[in-house]
Amino acid sequence: MTTAAAPRKEPRRPWTPSQIVLTLLGTAVSLVFLSPLAWALFTSLKSETEAVEVPPHWLPKEWTGQAWSAMLESGNLTNWFVNSLVVSVCVTTVVVLVASLAGYGFARTEFRGRGPLMGLVMAGLMVSPAVLGVPLFTTVQQMGMVDTYWGMILPQCAPAAMVYILYKFFQGVPRELEEAAFIDGAGRWRVFFTIILPLSRPSLAAVGIFTFISSWNNFLWPYMVTNNPDLMTMPNGIATVMNSYGIQWAQLMAGGLMAGLPLIVVFVFFQRQIVAGVAHTGLAGQ
């Protein structure tokens, strides 16, 4: 990805015919990709009756913010937003902390049973709430954590994949760095926190970004474990509560855009970091 940043400094090349064709093609494809969102936006600015008019038309004849204000006034969205934030922030914090510790432990320390335990973690890659949702629910039910924040947060905090990614990363960190510190009398923990962690900031950021996006957008597990609408996260609330307004498409679109907006705004500001984070985490599976 370092190459991604490099071309910016190159002098601009002239428009060649092939560049013109490619740019036009890119524009066309981008329009196709963005048109559903534009359609949602325009729908959300129509009145409910105009939204379902046949045949459909792009621009509202009468622009109105009623769908947006109705969504905001209902109060649910603010609740869900807070819940999404609480859950995603907690999950991300715990995952980054716990997975970096474990990744380092597996990569760089010796302890009894390390090999088999690492094998077990690798096997954990195959388990997800989609595969074992029902038993996972009964487990959480036994712990009395149905309809609680912890019930939503903790089961998302044991992603074997993130441990694996950081494990691979720590394996690549030169041992010499640590050993110089050991010779100076530093302990494992100090080495980890003062030398290794600062060095791995980009990888931690990648894991953190990826975890945050997946947690923010996670639907299946919060859907299973929360029933109380007050505790629902944004994707869950939109799907299980807001849909109950039935044919009120303008409001549904407004709510959907509101749910999607935070990450989109964040993306526009931190594009390079997010792209690198997602690519890095994805590629680590190689």
């Binding site: 990805m1 190459t3 474990a102 010796e110 030169p174 041992r175 957008n217």
Partner: protein, 313 residues
């Protein structure tokens, strides 16, 4: 990524201090190693291993949702599952979805990446456009396409001047879910391809250019082979994710099974049995069957990878 740059900068130091390494590591590592992994292992044991074992146990019982004591019923649940036409239907729907999505998304993501890689101006803009849908929650993406496919008022039918009952006709309902999925998730694989394309050393292209290869040849004989690994990864990730499809399918069909049950996926059927029919024991049995299938796919991939590596040597 900067991780690589950090590595390259620091690598030369390695040879000189290698000798000290083993002693220092042993001495310090043994006491603490376990504590580094302990927090993760606790969570992992509670929320991955324990549910797996519990699911296995429940699959031999008639447990219900209330958490009351269950009775051991032996292999009854498994026997019933193999005889249950809906299990096979649901498995078929998930497999059909996977079969449709994986090739489409791989090709689409590759083409998008090729496009974004070769346009010299406004790289951030293309990246933004193609990746943006992936940032939406699955449920929002599904609601959006439900609206786009809505009979009469939907944009899709209107734009193409057709009259297709996307959501209500059993031959199209799954296709609608596929289209939604392509739009929503292609951006992820697109990024992986883009990163891989940018990782191909530029001097290889220069060399090919000097040899007189045209753009088409360069793509076919240089880019494609260089992307073999990443394609394997994309396909594997997509297969595993697609088999577990749930969100889009249920939301587009208002949590129902679709016209004549045609979009009921395996995950959905498991949850229906567990949470709607309250049959936790039976749901656990089909979950275990599903786990075995997923594990088989994952292991097959590992086996393929290893074979290829060995072949490469």
């Amino acid at each position: 990524m900067t991780t690589t740059s950090a590595e390259t900068v620091l690598r030369p130091a390695r040879a000189t201090t290698a000798a000290v390494s083993t002693t220092a590591r042993r001495g310090q590592g043994f006491q603490h190693g376990g504590w580094f992994v302990a927090p993760f292992l606790v969570l992992f044991a509670l929320f991955v291993i324990w549910p797996l074992l519990r699911g296995l146990w429940l699959s031999f019982t008639d447990a219900n949702i209330s958490g009351d004591a269950a009775h051991f019923v032996g292999l009854d649940n498994y026997r019933e599952a193999l005889d249950d036409p809906l299990v096979w239907d649901a498995l078929g729907h998930s497999a059909w979805f996977t079969l449709l999505v994986v090739p489409c998304i791989t090709v689409l993501a590759f083409l998008l990446a090729l496009l974004a890689h070769h346009i010299e101006r406004g790289k951030w803009l293309w990246r933004l456009c193609f990746f943006l849908p992936f940032l939406l929650p699955s449920t929002v993406a599904a609601n959006l396409w439900q609206w786009l496919f809505n009979p009469g008022t939907g944009l899709v039918d209107h734009l193409f001047g057709i009259d297709t009952a996307w959501l209500t006709d059993k031959s199209y309902a799954m296709l609608a879910v596929v289209v939604c999925t392509l739009w929503w998730t292609a951006g992820f694989s697109f990024l992986l391809y883009l990163a891989a394309l940018q990782g191909i050393p530029a001097h290889l292209y220069e060399a090919a250019r000097l040899d007189g290869a045209n753009a088409w040849h360069r793509t076919a004989h240089l880019t494609l082979p260089m992307l073999r690994n990443i394609t394997g990864l994309v396909v594997a990730l997509q297969i595993l994710a697609s088999l577990q499809v749930f969100d889009q399918a249920v939301v587009m069909q208002d949590f129902g099974p679709g016209p004549e049950g045609s979009t009921r996926t395996f995950v959905q059927y498991t949850l229906e049995q567990g949470f709607t029919s309250y049959r936790v024991g039976y749901a656990s049995a089909i979950s275990i069957i599903f786990f075995v299938i997923i594990a088989a796919v994952a292991l097959a991939r590992m086996w393929l990878l290893r074979n290829r590596e060995e072949g490469g040597r």
